[in-house]
Symmetry: C2
Subunit: 196 residues, 2 copies
């Protein structure tokens, strides 16, 4: 491509981005959903928490499903002042008891609710929340109500597969992580520090 | 759903996951690509870096496109021992000169190459690398060669839209971040600590 054509193309790109930035003037917290079956939902949430505290914002994490493994992100973010609330029972498919899972979910949701009412938090990450709704541990209306009533400048990130339609409708930004391929399927072992 | 049916379903889920974990026995570094037009590619890369160093792994970041703004993740990760190499010219659509952009790209690629030859790094994140290939600043063959020759246990994360077919074929894990909707389009301003 010639320098002229390259410059023109870049100019058009820049113009388009600038126009969109210009048009977007509302300042308020947003609800971001990372859903889909692909890798990267939880890591994108933690990346955003890392970004937020790097700008001096206050962030908190609630994890609704947690494996029985060491949590790398928590090791880094908690000492930097990010509170973590992790559901006590571990992976729901390890416990397999609807009653105790529901109980554990509601206790964790109680922690989430306190954060969603606290204007000092600029960002609240609700990791794997979607499962709590799809397993019927938590009514979708409770989630929508809490998001509606949260402080105006608070942003919320929700992750997990099979996000409820009402939550997708409510959210400001939704990304579907679509799996194209996964090392797992090529016989490569999940690795500490990469996959978990 | 009854407790029995719930337990059964969870048991099937657990079995399926266990089988896949059992089958995956190769231990080596992997190449992960986060591509697509949706939000969360760079944040997922930084989230993985955060996770890796939280497990005591050594990680490095190379950013091939960087806006003229403050970098929240860098503020957190660099003091924790993660080296950052950031392309000097900022966003390529700010500079719009193919010759100087190519030069800046190749200098940054030189830094990346050193990391891709250094077995002390468990994880190297090459943020926005895909654009360097699609803008013809960097030959795809150079990228594939460097990935092929890297230390066996090193994992690499590559982010950016429109990833080259050869790189998708080479990668072990590929996720396409598909935009479902974006706050931007609803007139909400991009926000420090969330969007950048």
């Amino acid at each position: 491509m010639s320098q002229d054509r390259h410059g023109e193309r870049q100019q058009r790109l820049k113009q388009k981005v600038d126009e969109r930035i210009e048009a977007a003037q509302l300042e308020r917290g947003i609800v971001i959903v990372y859903t889909g079956n692909g890798k990267g939902k939880t890591t994108a949430a933690f990346g955003t928490v890392c970004r937020a505290i790097g700008h001096g914002k206050k962030a908190a994490v609630v994890q609704f499903i947690k494996g029985n493994w060491d949590n790398g992100e928590r090791n880094i973010l908690e000492p930097l002042g990010v509170p973590f609330h992790v559901m006590a029972t571990g992976f729901t498919w390890e416990t397999q008891n609807k009653q105790t899972d529901t109980q554990a979910c509601l206790e964790t949701w109680h922690n989430a609710l306190q954060l969603l009412q606290d204007p000092q938090y600029d960002l609240v990450a609700l990791d794997e929340l979607t499962y709590m709704v799809s397993y019927h541990y938590l009514p979708i209306s409770d989630v929508i109500n809490a998001l509606t009533l949260r402080p105006e400048n608070q942003s919320v990130i929700i992750t997990g597969r099979a996000c409820h339609r009402e939550l997708l409708d409510f959210a400001d930004t939704v990304t579907e992580m679509r799996p194209v391929k996964h090392a797992f399927d090529a016989g490569i072992k999940a690795q500490k520090g990469i996959d978990w």
